[in-house]
Structures are given as structure tokens and as C-alpha cells.
């Protein structure tokens, strides 16, 4: 039986050129090991700091 695709999965993926792959590879090396959004993490921690238990 064919498995249903998840709702959030895009039905079409646009291809990536080899030039873009190269560019991304260079950028990936530049930002290797870094946290991208430290301010967002701080905000998330602060927002949910009073959360004692999950509702699930």
C-alpha cells in the first residue's frame, strides 16, 4: 500500500544548482559549529522559564 506523504512535506522540490551547492559548502565551513540564533534561544528559554510541566 502506498504510504501517505506528511501534510507539511512539499509535493515538489526545486533543484539546487552545482554553483549553489558549492556556495553553500563554503558558507557551511564558515559557520561550522556555530549556533545560528542565540538570541532566539535566549528568548525561548525566557518565555518558557516558568513552564513546570508539559501539557502532554
Amino acid at each position: 500500500m502506498k504510504q501517505k506523504k506528511p501534510i507539511l512535506k512539499a509535493n515538489k522540490t526545486l533543484s539546487m544548482s552545482s554553483k549553489t551547492k558549492e556556495k553553500i559548502s563554503v558558507i557551511a565551513n564558515n559557520i561550522k559549529g556555530k549556533e545560528f540564533f542565540p538570541e532566539k534561544i535566549a528568548l525561548a528559554k525566557k518565555t518558557l522559564s516558568n513552564l513546570k510541566t508539559l501539557p502532554i
Binding site: I7, N11, F36, L48
Partner: protein, 182 residues
């Protein structure tokens, strides 16, 4: 299934943080980043912050506080959504937290300083406040009945006593927490 095409992403880290890069091909070519970063453990589950932003070529960092207006917002948003099923494939018990960088209390004060939207400062209305989370909420509200077949969604209220409660479409939330149904 999501009918909007997504850009192909490149997984660049799959360790404690999950990071992707992709190219937005709108008016300009912009390298964008998606990150799922763990920030809290609760009840044996790890909460991951979903972050998303642009790679800044000049200082080689990722920034999430600019609106690039690249003319391909739907494709970019679809690309972010496309990574969610991938996340839950390997993190079945964990959760994704979504909150915009414009949802912090300090955002309104900072925005007021350079307000270009003619907001009524006397009644403290900031048109830019919560703009990012509104995009996610709009999508959730529109697709709610389909989404709850696969996901359990909670909204974080911004009341005097903030609380994480079951998501009800059209209600106001400053953050959203998503679990995968088993």
C-alpha cells in the same frame, strides 16, 4: 501534502543542532538557514527552537531580524515546513517551539525608536509586533483540521499569567509548541 514548491535544502549539521542551508531564488539570490536547536528538557522530552533567517555575506553570520522581501515568501515558508517531517522522523518524542524574534517584550520598545508604520504610540500598538508568529498561525489556522491528524499543537498565551494551552484557531498566541502524534 503541501502544494507549494520548496527549495532543496542542504543538511549541514545533524548533531545536537539540526541545521540546513538553502538558496532563495527570488528577486535576488539569498542563502537562508534553518535551525532546530535544543533549549529545554521537560518530562523526558527535548524542546527544539525552530529558527530561520538569512546568511549575511558581509559579516558571515545568520540574521533573523530582516525582511528580505525577495518575492518568494511562499516557497521559502514551504521550505521551512518541508523540514518539519524530517525533524520528527528522528525526534519522535521531542517538540518544536516556534516564536518570532519580534515577539519579545523588548521588541516594541526597540521598534518604536525607528517606527515607519505610523503606529499609534499612545495606545501602544506596534504593527510589527508578533508579525512572524502570525505567519505560522495563519498557516496553522488555515490547515488546522489536516494538521491535527498528524500533530498535537499548543499555543502560548501572552496574558498576565502566560500559559501553554491547546491551540484553538484564531486565538492569539506568541508561541506555538508542536508534537508529532504517535
Amino acid at each position: 501534502m503541501n502544494n507549494i514548491p520548496a527549495y532543496k535544502t542542504q543538511l549541514i549539521s545533524n548533531q545536537s543542532k539540526i541545521q540546513y542551508l538553502f538558496e532563495s531564488n527570488g528577486i535576488n539570490s539569498i542563502i537562508k538557514a534553518i535551525e532546530y536547536a535544543p533549549f529545554k528538557k521537560q518530562n523526558g522530552k527535548t524542546l527544539y527552537n525552530l529558527g530561520f533567517g538569512d546568511y549575511d555575506l558581509s559579516n558571515k553570520t545568520i540574521t533573523d531580524d530582516v525582511n528580505s522581501n525577495n518575492g518568494d515568501m511562499r516557497k521559502v515558508f514551504s521550505t521551512v515546513l518541508d523540514t518539519v517531517p524530517l525533524f520528527f522522523k528522528t525526534h519522535k518524542d521531542d517538540a518544536i517551539w516556534i516564536q518570532g524574534s519580534d515577539s519579545s517584550n523588548s521588541f516594541v520598545d526597540d521598534c518604536k525608536k525607528n517606527c515607519r508604520k505610523a503606529c499609534d504610540l499612545n495606545v501602544v500598538v506596534c504593527k510589527n509586533f508578533n508579525r512572524r508568529i502570525k505567519i505560522y498561525r495563519y498557516y496553522i489556522n488555515k490547515n488546522f483540521t489536516r494538521l491535527i491528524k498528524e500533530y498535537i499543537i499548543f499555543g502560548y498565551t501572552n496574558e498576565e499569567k502566560p500559559n501553554l494551552i491547546q491551540y484553538i484557531p484564531e486565538n492569539e498566541y506568541i508561541g506555538v509548541l508542536i508534537f508529532k502524534k504517535k
